[in-house]
Point group: C2
């Protein structure tokens, strides 16, 4: 679409996003850290896993996002003196003073993280992050890491579903900033929906920070701010290829008469303010003419005005871009608009009208986008706001952060609710591919187990069927999903740019078998544990029952 403003590659990705302060966490992390410290256990080596229990939106997959933010947070993890003074005022008065000295000295230099690559398709119960290090420190990190992964992964997955619902041809523009959950929510949404498969954003700051292509022309308020042609100034426009300025207002008025005649529209029903707005914008930006045409009435005013101005622009060798519809029945109106474009082209011989785009935006949801994709329509670009950025149908992912090992011994949570049980021990994660290259199973092994080998059968136990019968599988290819991303306080690999993560995410979704990508009632993807984990779970359950 020609309304794309700027080149995504031209802007280097900036890392001027605001720092997430380590105090952005739950108070109980500090009371627990104190209890560990008091008991001398704070430096015991521990490992936590961050994972979710169900794919969001009733879907068959998720995209993992937020890793870069987590790594930047970890790198900068350090309490300020003011933070510690605040904690001194709120922790119980019997907190030993040396604990605050301990907090002042804390950083992430003893923390290690293994993670799945950002933008990878992931599934329920697969550890996205394994965070290990001193017990008190890795405990303190919990809430901030969850906060950084939960929404990023949720909105990225939501965007990927909108992408699938839209079909590959249609372009998708994110325009949810005003409805997002706070300023940072809006910025996060713009970034991660781009990774999930959107093409454009309306958010200027997201464009600047992350190099996302931005777009936008005019809103209803611009149109309604005009009431008469007298407000149009300047009234002349020079042709695109150079030459003397032409009196543009009479040219457009002339075209309006011919358009109304062709369409059988009543010239007196054309809103003069709307015509003035279109004229004024087109004189300011003759190569960027894409007005919103439903401020008054599409058929009797917006569309004739657009055609008149666009035909006049064509006279001066400019290429008008198209129109935006922002209310009512988008499909029906797009067919009407397209038909009018064809009539104009046929009648006035303006080939430029063949490449006009129609942008639609009106509370678009995943469902309405799926329906739109099935109906006759001529919408080229869909703008999505509220339902995309707030994730209306499921506004939270629900990642958890669970202890799996402490002091070299595996740990598991055994509650009365089996859904909330965890798998003990530190793990490696292998993605097993079928001969066509589609992922067919994610296998969790203890980290000291040998990796599965392509072409060799192995036994495993699918999750969701705890202590289930063993299943045999022979992978055609095996990918180790776990990467060492953080060690000794340092990020271990160059952080990918937003565009790079987007490419990886789109490839990762593409590799999925079609039945895992279905938006409704997808086939459930297999996640299994090794026989060794299964034995460990059995032993730990016995030991505790």
């Amino acid at each position: 679409m020609a309304t794309v403003l700027g080149d995504p590659c031209a802007t280097p990705e900036l890392s001027v996003r605001q720092r997430v302060p380590p105090l952005l966490t739950d108070v109980y992390q500090f009371t627990m850290a104190y209890a560990y410290w008091r008991a001398g256990r704070h430096n015991q080596h521990a490992a936590f896993e961050l994972f979710f229990r169900d794919n969001p939106f009733g879907g068959g997959f998720s995209l993992f996002a937020g890793l870069g933010d987590c790594l930047r947070f970890l790198r900068d993890f350090r309490f300020t003196d003011e933070d510690v003074e605040y904690l001194r005022t709120v922790l119980p008065s019997d907190t030993h003073p040396d604990f605050f000295l301990y907090l002042k000295g804390l950083d992430s230099s003893a923390v290690s993280v293994r993670a799945v690559a950002e933008g990878t398709v992931v599934f329920a119960r697969v550890p996205l992050l394994e965070v290990s290090g001193p017990l008190a420190v890795v405990q303190l990190l919990e809430t901030s890491l969850l906060c950084l992964v939960n929404y990023a992964s949720l909105v990225c997955t939501n965007a990927a579903r909108f992408r699938l619902a839209a079909g590959p041809r249609r372009r998708l523009m994110e325009m949810g900033l005003r409805r997002a959950q706070g300023p940072d929510g809006g910025l996060t949404a713009s970034r991660y929906t781009y990774i999930g498969g959107f093409d454009l954003t309306s958010n200027a700051l997201a464009g600047r920070l992350f190099g996302i292509p931005v777009a936008g022309t005019i809103a209803h308020s611009y149109v309604t701010s005009f009431s008469s042609l007298e407000e149009v100034w300047p009234q002349s426009l020079a042709p695109a290829k150079g030459g003397d300025p032409v009196e543009f207002v009479p040219l457009v008025k002339d075209w309006l008469g011919r358009v109304c005649e062709l369409l059988g529209a009543q010239p007196q029903q054309v809103h003069e303010g709307e015509l003035a707005a279109f004229l004024s914008y087109s004189i300011a930006y003759p190569s960027n003419f894409l007005p919103v045409i439903d401020s008054y009435s599409v058929s009797s005013s917006g569309l004739p005005c657009f055609c008149a101005v666009a035909l006049a622009l064509c006279d001066l060798q400019y290429q008008p871009l198209g129109v935006r519809l922002d209310s009512g029945d988008l499909c029906g109106q797009s067919l009407e608009v397209c038909n009018v474009f064809k009539q104009c082209n046929k009648h006035f011989s303006v080939p430029a009208f063949e490449s006009l785009v129609i942008v639609g935006s009106n509370s678009v949801s995943e469902k309405s986008l799926s329906e739109l994709n099935k109906k006759d329509n001529e919408i080229d670009v869909v703008g999505v706001g509220t339902h995309l950025v707030t994730c209306t149908s499921q506004p939270s992912l629900g990642c958890v952060y669970k202890l799996v090992e402490v002091g070299g011994r595996p740990r598991m949570k055994l509650t009365e609710d089996p859904e909330k049980s965890t798998l003990p021990g530190r793990k490696s994660i292998y993605r097993l591919l079928d001969p066509d290259g589609h992922p067919q199973m994610d296998l969790l092994c203890l980290s000291d187990e040998p990796a599965p080998k392509a072409g060799e059968p192995l036994n495993c136990h699918p999750l969701g069927q705890i202590l289930s019968a063993v299943q045999s599988i022979t992978p055609a290819r095996v990918i180790n999903l776990g990467l060492d991303v953080f060690r000794h306080g340092e990020i271990m690999l160059p952080l990918s740019t937003t565009s790079e993560i987007r490419v990886h995410a789109q490839r990762s979704i593409q590799s999925l078998h079609v039945h895992h990508k279905k938006l409704e009632q997808p086939e459930s993807y297999n996640v299994a544990m090794s026989e060794k984990i299964n034995s460990l779970v059995r032993d730990m359950r016995r030991g505790n029952s």
Copy 2:
């Protein structure tokens, strides 16, 4: 509740929140601003109104929040050189270079804002903000202001509804940070849910920045990090009133035997790790003992362990605080827990057990809270996360920002969708009270109309019935809701602290008539326009039809 850590008044409110950059807006604001600038209209005086069209959550009222953030944003409104350089790369290449100089010089010194006081109960279609000033500047402000008001007001209103659902006695704790939509979403949620009526937050940074009381003790991970009593260190505890440390582990073991006997519990079913965790925490914080008791089994392990440790603490003159339940049937479990507390008190004569609190937290929604409020239960404090901070049942408020006057002339949007029409002209907003002091109507008048007077009948036209029959009303009292809050680039009144806004919000809700506060099917509150606005609408509709 005694787990409140810190004094809300002790921490002065800090204004270290991150600045909202003016580039956090939609790109079309810049293309429109350019078109205004190009046409020489950029300094034309214009006024926009910010309002919403429906109360959220199917309710009868909303709380207005986010004003302080808007004012700080306005005060600091100024593009950096980097912002302008970025815009130069993305706006169409025929943008006149002087426009970028114009942007560099922009600030809010010519902007004025009238607003409803933050924390006031408000209703659909009442202007919350009126922003006036140079057309191009007030246009540029749109998206950022909407973003700052929308979520703040939404989550504040949501909290007020949870408060009403909980009843006045029960304390409410916000603990949604990990599920919030991004880090700033979490911070915003903590602040505005406190204003809406919550009592506590788990969010340490919100405590520091806004002086909100914080609370928290331990999580499941703390409990599951222990496996044996050998991990408890130190093993002794000095009595509260001083004296030699007592061997605490054998004391607790002794109590555990007696508790199991009393409750008919099997000592071998008590999880040794859970007992160790409770012991260790109580030795670290003997005055802050409120563990989560459902890591394994409430009846057979968590509850007997709690009682044993709490009884031992009582022996040493410490006051245990209570327990937290985090899964399963909260009401049923709270009754069981309370019954056990009573048995212990009766059998062991521990009056401290009479004041133990029970905290419940398990995906609490407004609906489940309303149900809980109707059922038998002994839950004193309810912790709410996901459904509160993400506003599951309606994750966006949908405020809009509409042009009502430009160049001294009223403007209105007249679309084919009458719901989306706007009311023209700059307005004053009056709240009319009935003789009992309850708000009975909000009246919109043109700003040059005289204010309605108490005791004098007036004619008006209720909204939602455009051009409806006139209605007569005699207010007992009249309040002018509009405040001059911003002028000449400066905030015109001292910004209220979070606690002050909370007090105002709670009073404002209290003043409402009970039938407007109903959570379901509330009586609709009257918002009306003056006869003068009604005439203006009629004239403008005629002029455009």
